[in-house]
Structure formats: structure tokens, C-alpha cells
Subunit: 417 residues, 2 copies
Amino acid sequence: MKLRNLLYAQSGGVTSVINTTAAGVIETARASNEIGKVYAGKNGISGILKEELVDTSLESDTQINLLKYTPGGAFGSCRYKLKDPKEDPTQYTRLLEVFKSHNIGYFLYNGGGDSQDTTNKIASFTKKSGFPVQCIGIPKTVDNDLPFTDNCPGFGSVAKYIATSTQETALDVKSMADTSTKVFIMEVMGRHAGWIAASSSLASVEKNDPPHIILLPEIRLSKTKFINKVKRTVLDNGYCVIVVSEGLRDIRGNFLSDSGRVDAFGHKQLGGVAPRISEIIQDKLGYKCHWAVPDYLQRSARHLSSKIDFEQAYGVGKAAVELCLAGENAVMPIIKRNKTKKYSWSIDKINLSKVANIEKKLPKSYISKDGFGVTGKCKEYLKPLIEGEAFTPYKNGLPVKAILKNKLVKKKLKEFS
Amino acid sequence: MKLRNLLYAQSGGVTSVINTTAAGVIETARASNEIGKVYAGKNGISGILKEELVDTSLESDTQINLLKYTPGGAFGSCRYKLKDPKEDPTQYTRLLEVFKSHNIGYFLYNGGGDSQDTTNKIASFTKKSGFPVQCIGIPKTVDNDLPFTDNCPGFGSVAKYIATSTQETALDVKSMADTSTKVFIMEVMGRHAGWIAASSSLASVEKNDPPHIILLPEIRLSKTKFINKVKRTVLDNGYCVIVVSEGLRDIRGNFLSDSGRVDAFGHKQLGGVAPRISEIIQDKLGYKCHWAVPDYLQRSARHLSSKIDFEQAYGVGKAAVELCLAGENAVMPIIKRNKTKKYSWSIDKINLSKVANIEKKLPKSYISKDGFGVTGKCKEYLKPLIEGEAFTPYKNGLPVKAILKNKLVKKKLKEFS
């Protein structure tokens, strides 16, 4: 009997190690003798609907190895939500046709909460259809907001980047504060959950070490309390470093980046909570401020990935294939923190039906009393996730990246609209 | 005779390797038997006026070695311009008092063009005063805008950071462009000279590789031409990566970040050319844009310094002390590019009178015809400057930094006002 093929797809915002997971999938499948070819959806599920399947068997072992060091989504990702099959099964019927035409026995979907809801729906649909496909979710998100898994592959590297950048920029600001910038504000990702902002706390070792203030999306900003805290920090330390989540809300629950400002033509101003915070401080206290918005730099900084994150990202890819081989369906490998004194982790699994659409925010016990920082408990949780360096190879002063052919498999179906 | 002491000070915006230069100074002076103690001005020249001198002899060899891996200015820097001694000699008289009281025979000032003007004035003043102090400038600036030196210590590391970040974020944007962000804009430092923006070009190897557009402060922005170029790039490649200098000006010569926008309270909006560019594109083309402003991250990213920059930063510190020992005065070591096939460099020197207050911009031959990029000649110049990695040691997942005592020498003079 012809071996059934495996179809892997990336979904949602990419990370610096999502391709490391892809390498874990491909290398594990290649090493097995029970799986046919590994295909990858071009631009995720949206490409699969168009029958655009990348044939990864055409890529050399060297390039697949280099995937581990390549940020972004090597096959393309997408922001695309399938409809509910109960309301409109067209997309699911199409997916099934694609699966059948290309002898897909395994579907691996690498994404966050929304995507795992989709994986679960596809699993149910194919099961009922009489053409069962083993559907396995693979966790990924820089936001670290998936439930059940101790942490999400992709997060540890952002945490390391943000903690390092906080440490580095704080040294810069400190050295200039006497005659120049007194307040530095760094805006980080996190619309609803403050995990990334919280990770900046790892830069702080001694009391009064920066960051002095962390503004979390879980805590609504009281301007008066905030201004007082900034003033006190500058008086005590000579400078103040602030890390703010993009999703920070004011006391009435409105996003701060939604400032209501308009330009000369009446156009509404676009995002950026860091410049807004800077403005508030300059208005109220007159301190010279600088602000930074690393944006995509933080989630693509493969050059500074953590070794733990790298290993876990690879690990969940490998585990997903092993779950296929073990006959599992509608499950997702997750990271489990072992009950050891020194940090260690293992891989467990969870049913996809449990994961879908739950967002894990910072628990109360992780947020400091005054709401402007995190607790020791939070730092204990975060610490091991940034451990170790997963350096990339370099050539001509720049990180070496995979260059894939990304050749599509010949289409067999009619166009899908 | 008692050996005369050396006074070192940092000036202006700091870099990721200015402390590497400090280590070069201190280690070379320690190894010599002709120099007494090495003092460092607390917060640069402003601390020296206050007789605030750090005694670096109290720091261990280990911590001085760690300085090489520590961004920011370890003794503090300042933005402070001395008056012209012809108009008001008070500050110079005070400096002389400080020099005399602490037996300073050598003054080393580590800064950009403005600072070297100061060094030169101090050299002239002390010479005339009958208490000659050998004054040596040491080049430093991320902007790479000093004349005579082939490049400036501090620049190569920013260039490496910006080229790497361009490469990494471009992979991120490319993978999402089909259904999400189509245009990514990164704002980099450079108010008058486009060297940092130009360095992003090193991320591009093949034709059509990102960055697709570089907006330089040397070229005034024609909005129509720009919008057409963005549109064409997205049509051809599916996405567009833009790197823009903070000092970009419009066709009338006004800074783009000076947008004339006001908030609900009538306050003028603060800086940020990247959000402004994003707005223009969204208005005219409707593409989803993302923007980043790495700000201080770029100039403090010691974790990604180039080896060449690291070695040159150390080299100019070492050379400055050697110039002292050779009896030189009012000179500055500079980097010379040797006429070898493979890149190599050596250290030369220049009279400070020549350096002062000249700003080196991108020459015309380095800017592409359409004004939206740089030439092959420019890339050939830039390439070697990002070569090699000068990795930092890590502990607990974060770069290890020097922790200095920064103990001040006992004051001998009255307070200065």
C-alpha cells in the first residue's frame, strides 16, 4: 500500500522558531518509513484551499537544517479563519478533496488558539466523511497565551530578546540621563496578555534595576498613579525605563494607542502606545523621553533565540509526527514543566477540543501589588524560558538563512472559489 | 618624578562599543609603566567641571575586561558643549584647575565631531596656560559622519544590527503578506547622514531582495514617485520593506516627522517618521502597514556587534594611549582602509583642528539613480564593517555586563558654578 503523505501548514503570526518546528516535522517524517512525502500549505490553509502544496521532498537536508535558523514562515502563513462547517461546509469539503487527491493521511497545523479550533473542526469533518485524516495541532505563539501548555514555542525567544533589549537600552539611557533623555519607553507586543511585557523583568536583578515600570494589558492605567511613579523613579534613580504592552488600556477600558488624534487633514492617527505614553510624561513632567517600538523585530529576532525555545519548538514538531505514527487524532503536543528542582521539560498532549479559543492571561499572583510590575513568582516562571543561546551560523556578517525552492505539487482539482 | 595621570571621558550619544574603547584605554595604560592612574569623567566633561573623577584603578581586571561587552557609557556621557574660550574662558580655567589638582598629564576625549572641537580647544588652552596636557581625541559615533576616518567606531555594529533586523523582519513580512501586512517600515537613526539607513542594503543579495526602498536624509522625498515605487514593489513582489532615516525631509525641506499634527488638546505631535510614512501609504494605497522604531535598541545592541567594529573600537582606545606615550598632542587616531584586495585596516592619526564640526554625508556615487536606494559601490564600502561576530558572554540567558564601583576621587577644589 502506498504510504500516505503528511501535510503541514503554518498559521497566524509567525515566530523566530516556527521554521524550527517545521524542520522538526520534516526531519522526523523523513526518518520514518511509515510516512510518504511531506507537503506544506503555501501561505497556510489559504493555499491548501487553492491546492497550492509545496513539495518539501525537493528540498535538500542542508536547507531543511537551515530552516532551524530562519525566522518568518518559510512556506508562508496566513490570517484566515475557516467558516463554521455547520453553517457552511464548502471549505471543509474542498479541504477533503485536496486531502483525497494528494493522499494526505496526516494534517499538522502549526498555530495559536484560533488555528487549533480550525484543526479540531477539520478533524471532526474528515472523521465523519469516511476519509479520516489524522489532524494534529502544533502550538505556536509569541503571545504565550495558549492554555494547558506550560509555555508556547516562540515565546521564549521574544522574552529573551525583550529582556536583553531592556538591559541594553537601560545602560544607554542611564549613561545619558544626567544631561539628556531621562525616560525611555519600549512598546512590546501583547494585545490582551502581558507575557512579553512581563519578560522584560528578567533584565532586573538588583532592587531598582530597570525596567522600573511595566504596563500590562491586564491592568488599566491610572494616569495619576503612573505619573507619580515615573516622577519618584526619576528622583530616586536619575532615569526611568518603562516597558508597555501594545494593548494597554486606560481607566475606561479604551486602548491608549487609540488616542483620538487627527492630522491636518482630519485623518485619525494610527497606533503606537509608546509615543502616547511619552507625550503624557512630557506634558505632565517635562522630562525628555525617547521611545522605541521594535514591532516585528521582536518576533523575528532568530539571532537571539533562546536555546530552550529552540529545543521546544523542534520538540513539538517532532512530537506531532510521533503522535501521527502512534495513531492519534485531534490532539496537540504541549510543553510540560517537570517537577524537578532544576528546570526540565517534557512533552505531553491535550485534546484539541479543550484548547480552542481560550486565552491565558497573566494570573493575579504574577502581577505586583501596585500593578506596575511583576512578582518574583512570575520571574521564576519566566527565567528558564530564556535560558541558553541558539546561535545561528553567519556568513558575510549576516545570519545564514534557508533558501527553499518551494515548488508546488501539480494540481489535480478544479479551481476553488 | 610622580607619573602623570590620564583622564578619559565619554561624550555625546553612546554606542554599543564605546566601553570597548574605554577598556582599550585602561588596559593599555595599565600595561604601560609611564602612566599613573586612569581617571574617568563622571558623565563626561560635565562631571570633570564638577571635579567628579572616577578612579578606575579600583576596578578589577575582570570588570575592565567585561567593559568590552557592556553597551552604554560605563562612566556616564553627556550632551554638553563648552563655550568658546575667547568669549568665556571660565570653564577652561576650571578644567585646568582640575587637571592640575589631580596631576593630569593626558586628557582623552571619546566622542563625535562636536566633542573633538572641544578637545582641540582644551589642547590650545592648556598649551598656552603653561600646564600642557596632551589632549587626544578618540572617534566614536553611530552616525559614521566623521571626516578623514574611513569609518567610525560604533557604526559597524549598528550597521550589522540594522542589516540583520532588515533581513529577519523581511522574512516575517514576506510570509504573511498574502493575507496580512504588505508594507513594513523601519525607522533608523540618522538626522543628517544616511549611513545607518544605507547599511540595511546589506540584507539584499539577489535582485528584488528587501529592503526594496531606502529613504535617505540626503534625498528629499517626492511623495508621488515614492507612492508609485511602493505600489510597483507590492505588485511585483507581493510585499514591500522600507527603511527610513529619522531625518527624512519632504520636498520643501521640512522634516517628515514634523507632521504638524495636534492632539485633542492642541499639543503638537512628537516625532516618528515611520508612522508618518505608514499613514501616507495607507491613505494612498490602502495597504496594511506595520512600522518599527528600534531607537536606542540599535545603538546599544552589543549582543550583535560586529567583530571588525569591536576590534576597531578597542584599537582606537589603545592607539590613543600610544599617541600619549609618543608625546603627541591635539590629534585623533583614525581608521584607515588599506589598499589590499581583502579588507584590512590600520590606524592613522589626524590633527584635531581638521576634524572639528565637519559632517560626512553619503556621497552622490553611493546613492542610486532613483534616490530610493544605494549603489554597489556603497555596499562594497559597507560590507566589511559588519564582518564577524563579537559575541558577549551569557549568564542566565542574558549577556553579562560589567558592574563597576565608579568610586569618585576625593575632591580638592571648591565647588564650581
